[in-house]
């Protein structure tokens, strides 16, 4: 069996507060193979971004505790590294594309300077070599005028171009794994198409493994093979994309799917929605966290926590799956 590009085993994150530990991510395990894309979906506050930050070791040292039985990139454990070791890994083996490129990029450096800095740190080489790698990265995300973009400051680029430049920044060292956190959420449809095309190209051309975080299942469907659904820090369903769209098994996944407005020639029937809202983390219901909003709830759902029902660690975490 091949080594997966990213393997996360029993990852948990807690907020440490005066009134006790608050679970934010609760024993999550998954793997992504080289050249595959996995979608991580769920409503805001379900722990998607915290999962990403924990994998990258970007959470602050105080106030938050992270536990895991291992986070491996190409078989190399990157969990529990010190700050210096983390810096050596980020950008080279695993990189992140943030939701807000406007705030993630440094406003006082040109795109060229920022991308070169990453390459110099990890690969090094002559000035000329670094510049070539930087222009290469910009060209590879689809910029035909790479030199112009390299000389531009982030504020001189439109939102979509900034996001593309951000992808160039994340991929200049050709990392094995890319975590994309809602990379298309704030963008219009044409821009979104371009960003997705570039991620798709990375996946097929460089065999980059992609963890694609989004609340929009329509987008996840376009580029991911597998999908993980999170609710209140827990994994509630893990399956491949086609199966989820044909028959979601967890009531929460089914609810998310029914919320998506569809474009059709005839006027759609009124949209449905999941009743209620995500509970606050300090006041999580016992048993299955989704029980209070679930239409299929029964007595045991409120007492014990269901596990994923397939032996190989996938399936739905539900006592009464659809």
């Amino acid at each position: 069996m091949t080594t997966p590009a990213l393997k996360v085993t029993d990852l948990s994150v807690w907020f440490e507060t005066e009134s006790g530990r608050i679970p934010v991510v609760d024993r999550i395990s998954f793997t992504i193979n080289a050249g595959d894309a996995t979608g991580l979906v769920g409503e805001s506050g379900c722990g998607k971004t915290m999962t990403a930050m924990a994998i990258l070791g970007l959470l602050p040292a105080s106030g938050v505790s992270v536990e895991s039985a291992g986070i491996e990139v190409n078989g190399k454990d990157i969990f529990n590294l010190n700050a210096r070791q983390t810096r050596a890994v980020l950008g080279r083996d695993i990189a992140m594309i943030f939701q807000q490129p406007a705030t993630a990029l440094d406003p006082v450096f040109t795109m060229g300077q920022q991308i070169s800095a990453v390459y110099r740190r990890h690969a090094g080489g002559s000035k000329q070599h670094i510049r070539e790698a930087m222009l290469d990265a910009l060209e590879s995300v689809g910029f035909s005028q790479a030199e112009d973009i390299a000389d531009a400051y982030p504020h001189q680029l439109s939102g979509g171009m900034r996001q593309l430049a951000m992808i160039a920044l994340a991929t200049v060292c050709k990392p094995a794994v890319i975590i994309a956190d809602e990379p298309t959420t704030a963008l219009d449809n044409s821009t979104r198409t371009l960003i997705l095309q570039q991620l798709e190209r990375l996946r097929t051309l460089h065999k980059t493994a992609i963890l694609f975080i989004s609340h929009d299942l329509n987008v996840v469907r376009q580029i991911c093979r597998d999908v993980i659904v999170m609710y209140c820090g827990r994994l509630v369903e893990k399956t491949d994309c086609p199966s989820l769209f044909i028959q979601a098994r967890h009531p929460y996944s089914a609810g998310l799917l029914s919320c998506i407005p569809q474009i059709s020639a005839t006027r759609p029937t009124p949209i449905s929605s999941i009743p209620g809202q995500v509970p606050v983390l300090t006041d999580l219901p016992p048993g299955c966290h989704f029980a209070p909003r679930c239409t299929r709830v029964e007595a045991r759902c409120r007492k014990s926590v269901p596990e994923l029902d397939d032996k190989n660690g996938s399936g739905a975490a539900c006592f009464r799956p659809l």
Partner: protein, 334 residues
């Protein structure tokens, strides 16, 4: 709240040749836009970021000054109203913004936020105002305990409900929603869309719904208006638009929205050029550069807005398109 009815079908708001520019940058934001919104209908205004959608919304409320043109609200030109008339019109037209956490005052309780429009427009006495705020909270699906709380104590979906409540409290006839669901989770988005549909059914409110998300527009719009580089390129009944878009740009938008790559696609050139407007725009079609169906005259002559007649006319508004392809074909056989 009373249901606004009686005039269903007549345009509640009509824009005539509205133009607007930001002089510093010599940037034309809105270029001779004419459109109508029938009372009780929802017009979906779509287009990529920077097309001029929000500028139109702001111009209607005179938050920014247009260069020329008219905005007729119930037949009266908003741009020529005296301060008193303007004030009473603003009570009838309300705006809901994209980001509720930024558009609600963080230092005011929900009660203060909801009372302010009533005080500003001097609507009713203290008792009426008290009753009205409670009633409006109920309408948007929040309970009374919300009154004493501050915006940060609510989730983003609840905040958007408060923003909608603030807009509704003056009994507006026209609600302009500028990307009002774009920053919300899909599950919350669907709850807000349901709320908007219910408001329309119960109170007959007319909506100008601005969004770049075509799936959302499909869900709630009766008519669709498409903007590109400040110009209106097509206005059409939603059923017509989504089954058979007419303008090449509309086809492009619909292709992107359904995850296809249209044939006019030119990668990053699209980003560089799509919001760049030149002074000589008027002699060409604005979309000519990226149009897959471009003809020689598209770069020589600006097309006129033509009304297309359909044999089986859709129930709602008329169908207009600004494209040389339809210069001769004025009647579309079905």
């Amino acid at each position: 709240m009373n249901k606004h009815d009686g005039d269903t079908g007549k345009p509640l708001l009509e824009l005539r040749n509205l133009s607007l520019s930001f002089h510093r940058q010599k940037q034309v934001a809105v270029d001779r836009v004419s459109l109508k919104i029938a009372a009780g209908n929802t017009l979906g205004l779509i287009g990529a970021s920077g097309a001029g959608k929000s500028s139109i919304a702001r111009a209607i409320l005179r938050l920014i000054k247009p260069d020329s043109g008219e905005a007729l609200f119930k037949g009266k030109n908003i741009f020529r109203m005296n301060p008193q008339e303007l004030k009473s019109t603003r009570q009838r037209i309300q705006l809901v913004f994209q980001d509720p956490s930024a558009s609600l005052s963080p230092g005011r309780t929900v009660e203060q936020t909801l009372l302010e429009p009533l005080q500003h427009f001097a609507i009713g006495d203290a008792n009426y105002r008290q009753e009205k705020t409670l009633q409006i909270l109920d309408t948007v699906g929040l309970d009374q305990s919300a009154l004493r709380r501050y915006p940060h104590q609510f989730s983003s979906g609840q905040q958007q409900r408060i923003a909608i409540a603030r807009a509704l409290v003056t009994n507006p006839e026209l609600l302009i929603a500028d990307e009002a669901v774009s920053s919300l989770d899909v599950s919350i988005q669907s709850q807000i869309l349901q709320l908007i549909q219910r408001l329309q059914k119960d109170f007959g409110i007319t909506f100008l719904f601005i969004s770049h998300d075509l799936a959302v527009i499909r869900q709630i719009a009766d008519d669709v208006a498409v903007m590109y580089k400040g110009q209106l390129l097509e206005q059409s009944p939603a059923d017509q638009f989504f089954s058979e878009p007419t303008h090449p740009y509309s086809k492009t938008l619909l292709a992107f929205a359904t995850g296809k790559t249209p044939k006019s696609w030119q990668g990053d050139k699209w980003f560089l050029e799509r919001n760049r407007r030149s002074a000589e725009n008027s002699s060409t079609c604005v979309f000519a550069e990226f149009c897959p169906d471009k003809m020689p005259r598209c770069e020589q002559l600006e097309p006129a807005m033509l009304e297309i007649q359909h044999k089986n006319q859709h129930a709602s508004g008329s169908h207009c398109v600004k494209c040389h392809l339809y210069d001769e074909v004025k009647t579309n056989e079905h």
